[in-house]
């Protein structure tokens, strides 16, 4: 017979809340990239305004974690689940902030046609979408093998970023009049690279929840 039913229900609600926040973050990120691709300033503005919802969720979920710790005094895996929820909230909120930055860039570049290296840039989000989606699965399933596999994709993103960097430097040398957009694209690449890092961090959290061991998948 299961006991502490209320506590277990609250723990489940917390996990559902994180997944809900994850789904909203993923959507914001995907839409921000789509808006950038299509020069869609209206959608970009909508994403910027909508970020407040994700920020609010982060505060609510952190509060829920604090209440669970104070009132239920969780131990062992339950404690790790809650500690990891706090950490995942932080990563998701940072990813959503990055989506806002992508959207601001779309607004700033309104009316400009994109420079050639944007093709290289757009290879990055295609990989990072999958990383974020899969890291949310791993958050719940605690599949440590899958967590490691996702972190391997982070290296691919890092390689793309380095390649974008090189291409942009070359392009800006050749087109000094496009330096402003060149730098904006470079910063976008940096945003995508940071989002990939946050998904790796979510995977590390899943490994900690599953095993109690702190590992750094980035250098694994």
């Amino acid at each position: 017979m299961a006991i502490r039913r209320h506590y277990l229900e609250e723990l489940e609600k917390l996990q559902k809340g994180i997944i809900e926040m994850g789904a909203l973050t993923l959507k914001a990120f995907e839409q921000s990239v789509e808006a950038f691709r299509n020069h869609d300033v209206e959608s970009a503005r909508f994403i910027i305004a909508n970020d407040e919802q994700i920020n609010r969720l982060e505060v609510e979920l952190n509060e829920k974690c604090a209440v669970l710790i104070a009132e239920e005094q969780p131990v062992a895996k339950d404690l790790r689940i809650i500690l990891n929820a706090v950490r995942a909230c932080y990563d998701l909120e940072r990813i959503a902030d990055n989506a806002v930055h992508v959207s601001k860039c779309t607004v700033n570049l309104a009316g400009e046609s994109y420079i050639e290296p944007v093709k290289e840039l757009m290879k990055m989000p295609e990989i990072v979408f999958g990383m974020l989606r899969d890291s949310l699965d791993v958050y719940l399933t605690l599949d440590t093998d899958k967590a490691r596999e996702i972190s391997m994709r982070d290296r691919q993103v890092d390689r793309l970023y380095r390649s974008l960097f090189g291409e942009l430097v070359e392009y800006m040398h050749a087109h000094p009049d496009k330096i402003d957009q060149g730098l904006a694209i470079l910063f976008l690449g940096r945003r995508f690279e940071r989002i990939a890092d946050h998904t790796t961090h979510i995977c590390e959290g899943a490994v900690y929840t599953a095993t109690g061991k702190h590992i750094e998948l980035k250098n694994d």
């Binding site: 017979m1 299961a2 006991i3 502490r4 506590y7 277990l8 005094q73 969780p74 131990v75 062992a76 895996k77 339950d78 404690l79 790790r80 109690g212």
Partner: protein, 259 residues
């Protein structure tokens, strides 16, 4: 023997080997083989009836008082087999016990503390005065009762009575203190005082505590053992038990999923 192992053996205070306890037909403790180290707090947790209090009583032979109790296996205290080579009175002087409910004798505060030393032959007034003061101070009770030493102990609050019982144990200069749910009848402030006291006492004594309060075990003990139906499921450093228990049954019990 490696240096580390030698040091470990030097710190060994109590050891049980294949300890079994029967109450008539009931097999209350099954093959318990554990080590308890000096100047540490070792906590025993587990559901009611799992054998943790019975185990505590085997350590100072309290089960000798139960006619149907039968002990098999060995308990070593400082390397000496207490069931074969130890005088029971001397053993209980060395290994004192504090119970769940404070049980002061119906006499004055002073006489409660002086009782044990008197039984062990100390009659000189100055020596007794010194022991009473020292014991009450060690139990962090002196400041509260120094002006009412000759008033009835039963007039003290529950928390004070329990610290008096601890002082009474300290008065006979024990080496090990066994505590059987010492704060279960106390309010949170009295509980906190006893927990602080336990933390201080472990510098001088070895403490073994049975508690139903898992947060208490987590707060005050260095080592925790989880008992279930007469067996030890898992014993380890308290941090490990409460963060990364190895056994699913331990995890379920400390997480409150046991039912």
């Amino acid at each position: 023997m490696a240096v580390e192992e030698t040091e470990r053996m030097n710190d060994l205070k109590l050891r049980t080997e294949n300890l079994n306890l029967y109450y008539g037909g009931l097999h209350a403790l099954k093959e318990i083989s554990i080590d308890i180290f000096k100047n540490r707090v070792t906590a025993f947790i587990g559901p009611s009836g799992c054998g943790k209090s019975s185990f505590l009583k085997t350590i100072n032979r309290m089960n000798d008082l139960v006619p149907i109790a039968k002990v098999e296996g060995d308990v070593f205290y400082d390397g000496i087999n207490i069931y074969k080579e130890y005088d029971v009175t001397e053993l209980r002087k060395r290994i004192g016990m504090v119970f769940q409910k404070p049980n002061p004798f119906p006499m004055s505060v002073y006489d409660n503390i002086a009782y044990g030393p008197r039984v062990h032959g100390i009659t000189k007034k100055s020596a007794l005065n010194e022991t009473v003061e020292k014991s009450l101070k060690a139990a962090v009770l002196w400041d509260e009762v120094s002006d009412r030493l000759h008033e009835p102990a039963l007039g003290l609050s529950g928390g004070q009575q329990q610290r008096l019982c601890i002082a009474r144990v300290l008065a006979v200069e024990p080496d090990v203190i066994l505590m059987d749910e010492p704060t279960s009848a106390l309010d949170p402030i009295s509980t906190a005082k006893i927990e602080d006291l336990i933390y201080e006492l472990k510098k001088e004594y070895t403490i073994v505590i049975v508690t139903h309060n898992m947060q208490q075990a987590a707060r005050i003990s260095d080592t925790t053992a989880f008992f279930l139906i007469g067996e030890i499921v898992e014993m380890g450093k308290t941090d490990q038990i409460f963060l990364k228990p190895r056994d699913k049954r331990t995890e379920d019990y400390i997480s409150g999923r046991f039912g």
